[in-house]
């Protein structure tokens, strides 16, 4: 249940029996495919989710970087992001476990919408906790959850964002643990969540590795993914971790790109880190059930994180990712808000793929570090950017974003 010193199960006692039950179910259904769980999961991912997603050659980026760049198109998954891989896996697991109710937290709403879709698909009632402030910033995702029949419960404590929503969902779970499964949205939380969510997301790299070998003749030299909590990151890296050159083959460089926000510095007085770069700048600590790298002040109080991309805006990160960074197998990098916005515009214009702002961070890193790209580069397009249009327009107007089109003129 640990990744080196990271991970563990730092949760209220009331939840521990449920976590033991989940651990047992994870081992039986996920790891051992009991009752054909994994077969059904894969089949539903295919038919409902739209897997496999393509590994697309990106002609114009390849020219630009003098590297063969391939896009792993998780933006094409049902719901518009990789999130469904995990949500569908967990809701199905809850069904196998005989649970009768689903709860989940959501920040920007991507995990919430994925969970709501999965719950509707599998016929389980679902309640989603979402910060009041996020609710008002992410109306379309709130609509989607409600359309799928989920309840959306506003969380008014604290700043009303993801951190508070997670805490509140844990409280619900602690209250209704006997019939309820908590679908955690990333590779965070108490064991077995980080490993289980990784396993559900690992389909990304399972496909990408096979596709890369088929399309290029070998494993890629560089694999890049953005990192917030780290679920798309771990999903994208999982099957490449062992491509570490130890067998004399290619050592695939794994780059986790965090949100550098507006600055990497921290305002302890205000309790704010204007970034979400916990892998790059955080310290070890315990949050939301796991020991991992955190943005915290010297006392251990959790800082308010920030990113232009709300999906990366989290003060923690998956414990396995923290471990892989410490081990040197994964490289932690970060780019700032401006670079991410420029990358958002660049990919949209050059390749006809509008990425999520989260995703744009991975592309910004590639652009800033093109000399570090190997011959074959795979970048995970973790989600599509439709949800970000309004905020990109607004942010673009407020900044001087390199290569951005004037979005407003047509309405004048």
């Amino acid at each position: 249940v640990k990744f080196g010193e990271y991970g563990g199960q730092y949760v209220p006692e009331a939840l521990m029996p449920a976590i033991e039950e989940l651990t047992d179910a994870y081992e039986r259904y996920v790891l051992e495919n009991e009752d054909g769980f994994m077969d059904e999961f894969r089949e539903r991912l295919r038919d409902f989710g739209g897997r496999p997603t393509p590994l697309q050659y990106a002609e114009h980026l390849s020219e630009r970087y003098d590297s063969e760049v391939y896009l792993k198109r998780e933006d094409l998954l049902h719901g518009g992001a990789h999130k469904l891989n995990n949500a569908l896996g967990q809701v199905l697991l809850a069904k196998y476990m005989g649970k009768e109710r689903i709860v989940a937290e959501t920040g920007a709403g991507q995990h919430g919408t994925a969970t709501a879709m999965a719950a509707a698909h599998l016929g389980l009632p679902c309640e989603i906790y979402m910060g009041k402030r996020d609710i008002n910033r992410q109306r379309p995702n709130v609509f989607r959850m409600k359309l799928n029949g989920s309840e959306v419960n506003p969380v008014t404590t604290g700043r009303g964002t993801l951190k508070e929503a997670i805490s509140e969902t844990m409280r619900d779970w602690a209250t209704n643990v006997e019939d309820t499964h908590y679908v955690i949205g990333s590779v965070v939380g108490p064991a077995p969540f980080p490993a289980m969510v990784r396993d559900f997301q690992a389909v990304i790299s399972e496909e990408a590795r096979e596709q890369a070998i088929e399309q290029t003749g070998g494993v890629p030299d560089t694999v890049v993914a953005c990192a917030g909590g780290g679920s798309n990151t771990m999903g994208t890296f999982a099957n490449f971790v062992d491509d570490d050159g130890s067998d004399g083959g290619t050592r695939t460089d794994l780059v986790a790109v965090e949100a550098g926000g507006s600055s990497l510095s921290v305002d302890e007085e205000a309790g704010v880190a204007p970034n979400s770069a916990s892998l790059s700048t955080g310290d070890e600590g315990v949050l939301h059930g796991a020991r991992t790298k955190l943005l915290q002040d010297r006392d251990g109080q959790i800082l308010e994180s920030h990113s232009v991309s709300s999906g990366l805006d989290y003060a923690g990160v998956g414990p396995e990712l923290a471990y892989l960074v410490d081990e040197g197998r994964v490289r932690a990098a970060n780019v700032d808000d401006d670079a991410a916005l420029a990358a958002f515009h660049r990919l949209s214009r050059l390749e006809g793929v509008i990425p999520a702002l989260e995703t744009a961070h991975a592309f910004a890193w590639a652009d800033e570090n093109r000399d570090e790209l190997g011959e074959i580069t795979v970048i995970n397009v973790s989600g599509r950017g439709d949800k970000d249009l309004e905020s990109v327009v607004q942010e673009t107007e407020e900044r001087d974003v390199e290569g951005a089109v004037d979005m407003g003129e047509v309405f004048h």
Binding site: E13, R171, A174, Q301, I302
Partner: protein, 299 residues
């Protein structure tokens, strides 16, 4: 296992009243008054909260107390000053989340925090996000410095888990009266009797918490076999109300003192009921511990 006799002793003669307040809520000075009022009201042990920014086990009442305290500038260092400044004689238990304990001091791990706590005469800890599985380092530090580590037993805790917890607990065991978070409901769960029954074989004081808001609740819980009652939200409510209404600190302290008295007296009354019920049951040849809480209420 190291132990601090103070805690166990507090439960020795009569049912213990264990109130909780967040240190520094809503201000450092007022909070000192409030905690001292609890002792005057009859507290046998006081659980003193060191607020953490992500209190995942707390309901809205205590969450808001945490916010007030943090906004008032509470930190671990200030907390220790608070303990020094506090003029009470009953044992103090620090209730906080693990990250604050873990981060304190230069080295990684809980030892510096425990050492500091011991030096100030604190008696032990309750750490809601630290289950027995992860408690090894803190348990070791507590042993080293002679402090107690209180664990929570939930209604869902059973079998091996219960063994594991009861083998590590010291001071008293915090019996969670119902699933959920602190302060969520204002009736007393009938799960309490069953929980206490499962714990009967262990010789450690059993203090019941979660949802006890009145002397009558306290009485019911003790009558059902508890060695003490833990009350948090009902007291924090008084602090919150005083804060919102700008009530003078002395007046709020007075209310806390009388609420404490009500709860302590309820607990005492429950002990008499329990004795009587036990006597009745003995007469009838039954086992009082198997009866539900509702049935053991005085008729």
């Amino acid at each position: 296992m190291g132990e601090n006799a103070a805690l166990k002793d507090a439960f020795a003669d009569e049912p213990a009243f264990v109130p909780y307040l967040a240190a520094g809520d809503p201000s450092y000075e007022a909070s000192l008054e409030y905690v001292e009022a609890l002792e005057r009201g009859g507290a046998d042990v006081i659980e003193l909260g060191l607020p953490f920014s992500e209190p995942i086990a707390e309901g809205p009442t205590i969450q808001e107390a945490v916010v007030r305290s943090l906004q008032g500038g509470m930190t671990p260092e200030r907390f220790f000053e608070f303990v020094e400044d506090l003029d009470v004689d009953v044992p103090l238990v620090c209730m906080t989340y693990y990250n604050l304990i873990y981060q304190y001091g230069d080295e990684e791990g809980p030892r510096p925090f425990v050492e500091k706590a011991a030096s100030l005469g604190l008696s032990g800890f309750v750490v809601p996000d630290l289950p027995a599985e992860e408690a090894g380092p803190l348990r070791a530090a507590c042993d080293e410095f002679g402090l107690d580590l209180v664990f929570i037993v939930a209604p869902t805790t059973a079998g091996d888990r219960l063994e594991r917890i009861m083998n590590q607990v010291s001071g008293y065991v915090y019996v969670q009266a119902r699933l959920g978070v602190t302060g969520a409901k204002d009736d007393v769960s009938d799960q309490t009797g069953a929980s206490l029954s499962r714990l009967r074989e262990w010789d450690v004081p059993k203090a019941v918490g979660f949802g006890i808001k009145s002397g009558e609740h306290a009485r019911e819980v003790v009558a059902a076999g508890a060695d003490g009652v833990i009350v948090g939200s009902a007291l924090v409510d008084i602090v919150a109300e005083g804060h919102e209404d700008d009530t003078p600190v002395a007046e709020t302290a007075g209310r806390l003192e009388s609420k404490a008295r009500e709860l302590k007296e309820g607990a005492l009354a429950g002990a008499s009921d329990g004795d009587a019920a036990a006597a009745d049951a003995e007469e009838a040849g039954g086992d009082p511990d198997d009866e539900s809480l509702a049935e053991s209420e005085p008729t």
